[in-house]
C-alpha cells in the first residue's frame, strides 16, 4: 500500500519541522523518502501530525471491567448502534473496548498504553486489549506493592529483584514498571495506608522511599525502554506536594541508562496539592513544575480534570475508599492477592466546588509552567480526571488564554484565589500540542518509530481540518476543539482508517511488550522463590499465570539485554 499525503502543514518536532508545507510518503506501513504511483490524499489547508500516543489511560483490565459492571448508568450516556464498519458500542467514562479503539482513532491516536496491569489480571487485561481495535497497545505492569519485589529489595538482593521484574514483564506481556502508592496498597490489606516516604509497610521491612528507589534502580539496571512510571503516595490528599517533591528528589541518585528520564510522575495534577485542609486547598503546581524544569531526569503527565460526571479507578484502594467516604457514592474494592488492591468509585467534578475548580486549574498550570513541552504529556488519567473524549477541549484551553479565563470566571472563587492560572499568559503552539500528545510520550516510552514522521517511522498519521494560516487558536478555541474532535484522516500502519471523523476501516494493532534478558542461573534462583510463593500464597497455579502470545494481537517484543547476570 502506497500513499502520499500532499501539501499539508506538517508538525514533527522530533525532526525539527514546524508547520512546513510538505508531502509525506508512505509505503508498506512506514514513512519513506519518496514513492511513485501512490494514491494521493490532498491535505492542503490541514494540519498533519504523527499519530497520537496515549501514555496513561485506564482502558483495559480488572478494575476497568469492575467499573463497567458498577456503572450501567454510564453506558446509557453514550450509545451507538452498529455502523457500516463498527460494532454497537456504549459508555462514556467506562467505554466498551470497541468504542475505546474507535474513539481514540477518531481523535487521531494510533497507540495507547493501559495504565495499570496487575500481574494476576494480565490474561484478562490482554483479552480486553485484544478487543480494542485501531491501536497499537501496551500495558504498564504494577509492581509497587508486590511481595517478592518488596522482599528482594528489603534484603538488598537487587539482581534478584531485577530478574523477577524482568520475569514479571515477560509473564504479563507488560511494557514497563508501574508503581501505585508504593507500600500503601499493601498496607490497605490491613486496613491501613502509608502517609509518608518513611512509613514502614506492615510485615515487610521496607518503606515507600526504598521501594521507589529500588524500582528505579531495577529499571536502569535492566535498561528498559520506559522509565519507572510512578503514581506516588498520598494521591489526592491536601498538601501532598511535599511528598511529591521528596519523591522527585530520589531521582538525583539514579543514573539514566538511556536517553530519557528516570521517572515519569503520572497524573501530576493529583499530586500537586497545597494547603492544610480542604478549606484552604490550593495549587502547588509552581513547586512541582520547578522541580521538573530543573531536572532532565523527570517528566510528567497532566492528569487534567474536566468538569462532569466520571469514574475514578486506581490501584490505590485506600485512596478510593477515602474518596467514596467523602462523596457517599458507591465503591468497589478489587483486591489482587500478593500484588495490589485497586478501588473504583464514581465522582462528579462540579464547577461550583472550590476543590474541583482548583484541581482543574492545577492540571493546566502544570502544562503551562513546565517550560519544555517534551517533559509534559496530555492525559486526564482517563477516566479519573475526565474521559479521554475531552482531549480536544483541553487542547483548546492550552492554546487560548481567553478560553481559560472564560472557564475561570464561571468557577468558585477559590479557583482564582488559590491558583496562579489567571496570571499565566502562555499559549501553546500547534508544535507544542504535537509534543505533549505525540513526541513526548513516544520519547518517554522509548518508542523509536513512533511520535515522529521521519523516514522509517511507523506510518501512523493524523490529519486535522485546521488551517493554521486562517485560524488563530488563541482567538478561536472552538475551531481548535472542533478540528481536534475528529480527524479528517487517521492513518494507521499506512492505511486510512478514519475519514471525516468516520471509521472507514477497522484494523487490529500490535501489542508491544518488553523482554529483558537476565542470566540463566539468576532466573533459576528467582523461579524457586516464585514457585514457593505460588504454592504457598497464590490462588492460581504458576502454570496458569503467564500470558501466552495467543492472548495478544500481533505480539511485538521489544528486546533488551543490559547484562544483568
Amino acid at each position: 500500500m502506497k500513499l502520499v499525503l500532499k501539501n499539508g502543514y506538517v508538525y514533527d518536532p522530533a525532526n525539527g519541522i514546524e508547520g512546513e508545507k510538505m508531502d509525506i510518503f508512505i509505503e508498506d506501513g512506514r514513512i519513506v523518502e519518496e514513492v511513485k504511483g501512490a494514491k494521493e490524499i490532498d491535505c492542503s489547508g490541514m494540519v498533519v501530525m504523527p499519530g497520537g500516543v496515549e501514555i496513561h489511560s485506564h482502558i483495559a483490565g480488572g478494575k476497568v471491567n469492575t467499573a463497567r459492571l458498577m456503572r450501567p448508568e454510564d453506558h446509557l450516556r453514550n450509545v451507538a448502534p452498529r455502523g457500516r464498519n463498527t460494532r454497537s458500542v456504549c459508555g462514556y467514562s467506562t467505554p466498551s473496548t470497541f468504542l475505546t479503539g474507535y474513539a481514540y482513532s477518531r481523535l487521531g491516536y494510533t497507540t495507547a498504553f493501559t495504565a495499570a496491569l496487575p500481574p494476576l489480571m494480565a490474561r484478562h487485561t490482554h483479552e480486553e486489549l485484544h478487543d480494542i481495535p485501531m491501536l497499537d497497545k501496551g500495558a504498564l505492569t504494577v509492581m509497587g506493592n508486590n511481595w517478592l519485589i518488596m522482599r528482594y529489595l528489603s534484603e538488598g538482593r537487587i539482581e534478584h529483584a531485577c530478574a523477577y521484574a524482568a520475569w514479571l514483564l515477560r509473564a504479563t506481556r507488560g511494557y514497563a514498571i508501574k508503581a501505585v502508592n508504593p507500600g500503601g496498597s499493601e498496607a490497605w490489606g490491613w486496613g491501613r495506608d502509608v502517609r509518608s516516604l518513611d512509613d514502614r509497610v506492615p510485615h515487610f521491612d521496607i518503606t515507600p522511599r526504598e521501594i521507589i528507589a529500588g524500582l528505579m534502580e531495577i529499571n536502569e539496571r535492566l535498561s528498559l525502554p520506559h522509565s519507572v512510571h510512578l503514581h506516588p503516595n498520598n494521591l489526592g490528599r491536601v498538601g501532598n506536594f511535599s511528598t511529591t517533591l521528596e519523591t522527585l528528589e530520589l531521582t538525583k541518585e539514579v543514573k539514566p541508562s538511556r536517553e530519557r528520564q528516570v521517572l515519569q510522575l503520572t497524573h501530576a495534577q493529583f499530586h500537586s496539592y497545597g494547603g492544610d485542609s480542604w478549606k484552604n486547598f490550593s495549587s502547588a503546581a509552581e513547586e512541582i513544575a520547578k522541580a521538573v524544569n530543573s531536572s532532565d531526569r523527570l517528566v510528567l503527565d497532566m492528569g487534567q480534570v474536566v468538569f462532569g460526571d466520571t469514574t475514578t479507578m486506581t490501584a490505590d484502594g485506600p485512596m478510593e475508599y477515602y474518596l467514596s467516604s467523602l462523596t457517599g457514592l458507591k465503591w468497589a474494592n478489587k483486591d489482587i492477592e500478593l500484588e495490589t488492591a485497586p478501588g473504583v468509585t464514581p465522582f462528579v467534578y462540579s464547577e461550583k466546588s472550590p476543590v474541583a475548580g482548583v484541581q482543574w486549574a492545577i492540571g493546566l498550570e502544570l502544562a503551562l509552567l513546565v517550560e519544555d513541552p517534551m517533559r509534559v504529556m496530555l492525559t486526564t488519567d482517563h477516566p479519573n480526571g475526565a474521559p479521554f473524549f475531552t482531549y480536544p477541549k483541553i487542547i483548546s484551553w492550552l492554546m487560548s488564554a481567553k478560553s481559560r479565563e472564560q472557564v475561570l470566571q464561571g468557577l468558585h472563587s477559590a479557583a482564582q484565589k488559590n491558583t496562579v492560572l489567571g496570571s499565566i499568559d502562555r499559549e501553546y503552539s500547534l508544535q507544542e500540542i504535537c509534543c505533549i500528545t505525540r513526541a513526548a510520550p513516544a520519547k518517554s516510552l522509548g518508542l523509536d518509530s513512533k511520535g515522529h514522521l521521519g523516514v522509517g517511522a511507523d506510518a501512523d498519521v493524523a490529519v486535522y481540518a485546521l488551517d493554521p494560516e486562517k485560524v488563530d487558536p488563541a482567538r478561536e478555541p472552538e475551531a481548535v476543539e472542533r478540528a481536534f474532535s475528529a480527524t479528517a484522516y487517521t492513518i494507521k500502519g499506512g492505511e486510512v482508517v478514519v475519514r471525516d471523523g468516520e471509521i472507514v476501516r477497522v484494523v487490529t494493532g500490535r501489542t508491544l511488550y518488553v523482554e529483558a534478558k537476565v542470566g540463566e542461573e539468576l532466573e533459576r534462583e528467582i523461579m524457586r522463590d516464585v514457585d514457593y510463593y505460588f504454592k504457598r500464597f497464590y490462588s492460581v497455579n504458576l502454570a496458569n499465570y503467564p500470558v501466552q502470545d495467543v492472548y495478544l494481537t500481533s505480539p511485538h517484543a521489544v528486546k533488551v539485554d543490559a547484562g544483568v547476570r
Partner: protein, 261 residues
Amino acid sequence: MKEVVLEPVSQPDCGLVAEVISCDVFAGRSIREIEELEVYAGNRRARLGEFFSVSGSAADSAEETRIVITGSVEKTKWIGRGMSAGEIVVEGSTGMYTGAWMKGGRITVKGDVDSFAGMMMSGGEIEVHGRAGDYLGCAYRGEWRGMRGGSIVVHGDAGTEAGHCLSGGRVTVMGRAESFAGVRMRSGLLVLGSAEPRVGAQMTGGSIVVLSPAELLPSFELVERVSSPEVEGVRFEGVFEVYAGDLAERNAKGRLYVKVE
C-alpha cells in the same frame, strides 16, 4: 384535543418495545404513518400496525394529542417514554417502563403497571388505578440521581423499592408498598398507605409519609409527635410520629412520618 385510538390486536410472547407510543411521536403524523412506526418484538423489527389497529387522528402538537389504548397490553414496554406533553389513557394494564423519562403530560392506566413505571421521570403525571410492580418511580440501574419531578399516584399496592433514589417530585401509593420503599431517597415526597419493613433504608433526604403504623429500621430516631403536619407543601390529617434518618448514612437529613392516630 384530537384522539388516536390503539386497539390491541395481538401481543408477542416476548416484550414489545414500543417507545413510539408517545404524544410527541404521534403528533403531526397520519394514521398510516403511525401504523408504520418501528417497534421491536423481541429482536424482530416490526410495525406498530402489526400489534394495534390504529384509528382517529393526531393533532399537530403533542399538547393537543390524546392516545387511547382500548385494552390490556401487559407485554408492551416503554409506553410514553420521554413524553413531554399530551395525554395517554390505557383502559387496561401496561408492561414495564411506562412513562420512563417522562417530562410532561399525563398517563392514566386503568389497570396495573408493571415494574419501572415513571423511572427517571422529571415532570408530568402518571395515575394508576390498579397496582404497580417493583421500582415505581425509580432511578435507572446504577444511578443514584433518580426521579426529580412530576407526580405518580397509584391507587392500589406497589412492589418493592417504590421511590428508589427519589430525588424530587412526588410518588403516592395509596395501598401497601412492599419492602424498601424510598430506599436511598435524596429528596421529594413519598406517600404510602402502609409500608412493609425497611421503609426509607439509606435515605439521606426528602420525606416519607406512611398513613398507618409501620415497623422502622433501628437507624431511625424519633424526633417529635405532631398533628396534621404539612410535609413538602401537602397537609396530612391525623397524629404523626416524626423520625430522622437513615442515621446509618452520613449527613442523613431524611424525615419519616408515621401516622399513629
